[in-house]
């Protein structure tokens, strides 16, 4: 086969144009196969859904101020928390970091001009929009009341709501994740620039690699379980119908085969982002880089074998409980290692307190709490006492909201200058970061307490002894809501009036910083190559201190 080198690196005179200037019409955005533009499309759409999901839960928290409810019927309440779960899990958290920062940064980080299959990438966004359309339809056609877990026989035979449309939305958006996963795996395998060996990949790229693997192998099982539910509901095929000898627990097995790894789909990218941010603002190589890589791979693989800890009280066998409990303790080890390693990264560092770092520290604290409470739930007796209570609610929100959303914000702030070429207001960013951390704790620490005391989840009316905790939690939710709205304001302001950022405002290593901000369509002006390890900050940092920045050797030599 003849080698034909595509001139994907344009002549220098044409290269000054950033990806933002490649066309200003809406159509030029909607048909663009540029990974950076698709990332922006994703970012806008998930933001919309984040706020829809947020409004839903805002109403729920308002309702929960009174033990007998304020303004909702029980059916409305059930629909609100269900739509909150569906939207936040599948339309915000799962695509959050991979589809936005992964899409934008990953190809640049490994020195590629684009992802492996740009048209597939665009298609994945359209699939997301298709799934989203179904969900919006569900929202306006009376909602769905099964909880985001769709357990039969309630979902298949008893619910009087729009289960099939909701399942179809999730089914379709699942294929968008699979497309993204296939794309990233092929990109990382085939398109690393010269010199970018596997163990020179930044940890964010590793996180994207592992998370893509999880998406590709787990999501189809969710698709199938939802298909079976819909087939039972629509055609009456009695797959999970106990009257015909079917077993509702089989659905739970299949559902959690996806939905437990899905938790890792949400948290692994966060780990990647935080590793980048810690290294940059501590100006130090991430402590134990190789251990961090193996820890992520292990989380990705063993994460598939622990799903049964969601079913300790569901009626599965005691032996299965024991096995899943053991594996759940094992999967906690690599997560603990990562927490220690991030802390270790601060040792002998040059720590700064910029906004991305505050968000990352918030992640570290909340992830630690979330991970430790995970140990409680891996212990069968405690799980029996606390499962389906607010303890579980608080636990997974601490990981998925406290952890993932903090890391998402850290990443947004860290790469904002790269994506937009503008600087944001540092004071407001720091203020929002601290508010978010405090608001989160005020919201969810009371939920841990009331969960342990015995407050079950998905309860519209509740015993009045828990009211104090619910009121505290709702108060925290107000703080949290303000903290989530603040970035919307100051980031928009930055977009309009922000200072020019320059190519590398953080003096970060990593290929994505060795190109103009905002980057040109082809990402690099000259073909990048790598001959150092990632995060060579120590020397870089020292050089900067002596005011001799020009001497420093950042990773890569593209300009």
């Amino acid at each position: 086969m003849t080698d034909v080198t595509l001139p994907f690196v344009p002549p220098l005179e044409a290269a000054g144009e950033s990806y933002l200037d490649e066309g200003h019409t809406i159509l030029s955005w909607l048909t663009s196969t540029d990974h950076k533009r698709i990332a922006i499309l994703y970012a806008l759409s998930i933001t919309v859904f984040f706020f829809i999901g947020g409004v839903a839960i805002g109403l729920v928290r308002l309702e929960l101020i009174s033990p007998t409810g304020l303004f909702l019927t029980s059916d409305e309440y059930n629909r609100l928390f269900t739509i909150h779960g569906i939207i936040m899990v599948w339309f915000f958290l799962v695509p959050s970091i991979p589809a936005t920062m992964g899409n934008f940064i990953l190809p640049m980080m490994i020195g590629a001009p684009d992802v492996a299959f740009p048209r597939l990438n665009l298609m994945s966004w359209y699939l997301y929009v298709g799934g989203a359309a179904f969900t919006v339809y569900v929202l306006f056609s009376g909602g769905v009341d099964t909880g985001w877990t769709f357990y039969p026989p309630f979902s298949s035979d008893y619910s009087h709501s729009n289960v099939i449309a909701a399942a179809a939305g999730v089914f379709i958006v699942g294929f968008s994740s699979i497309a993204t996963g296939v794309n990233f795996l092929a990109t990382i395998h085939m398109l690393r620039c010269p010199g970018m060996t596997w163990f020179r990949l930044p940890l964010f790229a590793w996180a994207m690699y592992v998370v893509s693997m999880v998406m590709v192998l787990a999501t189809p099982v969710l698709a199938m379980s939802l298909l079976l539910i819909s087939a039972q509901r629509y055609f009456g095929l009695p797959i999970f119908d106990p009257n015909a000898g079917g077993d509702p627990l089989l659905f739970q097995h299949l559902f959690w085969f996806y939905s437990h790894p899905a938790v890792y789909i949400m948290i692994l990218p966060a780990m990647g982002v935080v590793s980048e941010v810690f290294a940059c603002f501590a100006r130090r190589r991430v402590f134990g880089y190789t251990f961090m890589v193996y820890a992520m791979i292990m989380i990705g693989v063993v994460g598939f074998m622990v799903w049964g800890h969601h079913m300790f009280v569901a009626g599965q066998s005691p032996l299965a409980n024991l096995v899943f409990s053991f594996l759940s303790f094992i999967v906690a080890v690599p997560s603990a290692i990562k927490v220690f390693n991030w802390t270790g990264t601060l040792f002998r560092a040059h720590i700064g307190f910029e906004a991305p770092m505050i968000y990352a520290l918030g992640f570290l604290g909340l992830f630690t709490i979330g991970g430790l409470t995970g140990l409680f739930l891996a212990s069968v007796p405690i799980d029996i006492a606390t499962t389906d209570s607010y303890f579980v609610v608080a636990h997974f929100h601490t990981i998925m909201v406290g952890g993932s959303v903090s890391a998402f914000m850290a990443g947004i702030h860290y790469w904002w200058p790269k994506v937009t070429g503008k600087l944001y207001n540092e004071f407001w960013a720091q203020f929002a970061a601290i508010t978010m951390f405090l608001g989160f704790n005020v919201t969810f620490l009371p939920q841990f307490v009331m969960g342990w005391l015995g407050m079950p989840r998905r309860y519209h009316y509740y015993p009045d002894v828990f009211q104090i905790w619910h009121v505290l939690s709702s108060g925290g939710a107000v703080i949290l809501a303000v903290a989530y709205l603040m970035p919307l304001v100051y980031l928009t302001w930055s977009l309009l009036y922000g200072e020019q950022a320059g190519d590398n405002p953080w003096h970060a290593t990593g290929l994505e910083w060795q190109t103009p901000s905002p980057p040109p369509k082809t990402n690099f002006l000259r073909p990048p190559r790598i001959d150092t390890n990632p995060y060579e900050y120590h020397d870089f940092g020292r050089a900067e201190e002596t005011g001799d920045e020009g001497r420093a050797e950042p990773q890569g030599e593209a300009s």
């Binding site: 395998h189 693997m213 192998l217 099982v221 627990l249 089989l250 097995h253 085969f257 598939f304 074998m305 799903w307 049964g308 599965q316 066998s317 005691p318 032996l319 299965a320 096995v323 899943f324």
Partner: protein, 105 residues
């Protein structure tokens, strides 16, 4: 145009047989195995029927994947991908049956 077509045809007939030979043999083997599988289903083997049929299916898929999908010449990474699909299926079966087979209701 017509000249190149005749050239095409001559080359076709020469090379065609070589192309057909390998896949053709695999196809024969597959059809033979299919016949064995179908025939064995009518023998009263008890639980052996399922086992035989599934083993034959596994062999057929192995043949198909190795020779027709050309896994024998594929890069290591592609073999790893193919194997991981199977491995994850094993995870699913092993842990699901770990529950079902140890239940005593």
């Amino acid at each position: 145009m017509s000249q190149s077509d005749t050239g095409d045809r001559r080359r076709d007939s020469a090379a065609a047989w070589r192309l057909w030979k390998g896949p053709g043999l695999t196809w024969l083997a597959l059809v033979a195995l299919f016949a064995v599988s179908l025939g064995s289903a009518y023998l009263p083997l008890g639980a052996g029927n399922v086992a035989t049929n599934l083993v034959i299916a596994a062999v057929m898929i192995a043949l198909l994947v190795t020779f027709l999908m050309d896994l024998k010449n594929a890069q290591t990474i592609i073999r790893i991908v193919a194997a991981s699909g199977l491995l994850w299926t094993v995870f699913m079966f092993a842990l699901t049956f770990n529950d079902y087979l140890s239940r005593h209701y």
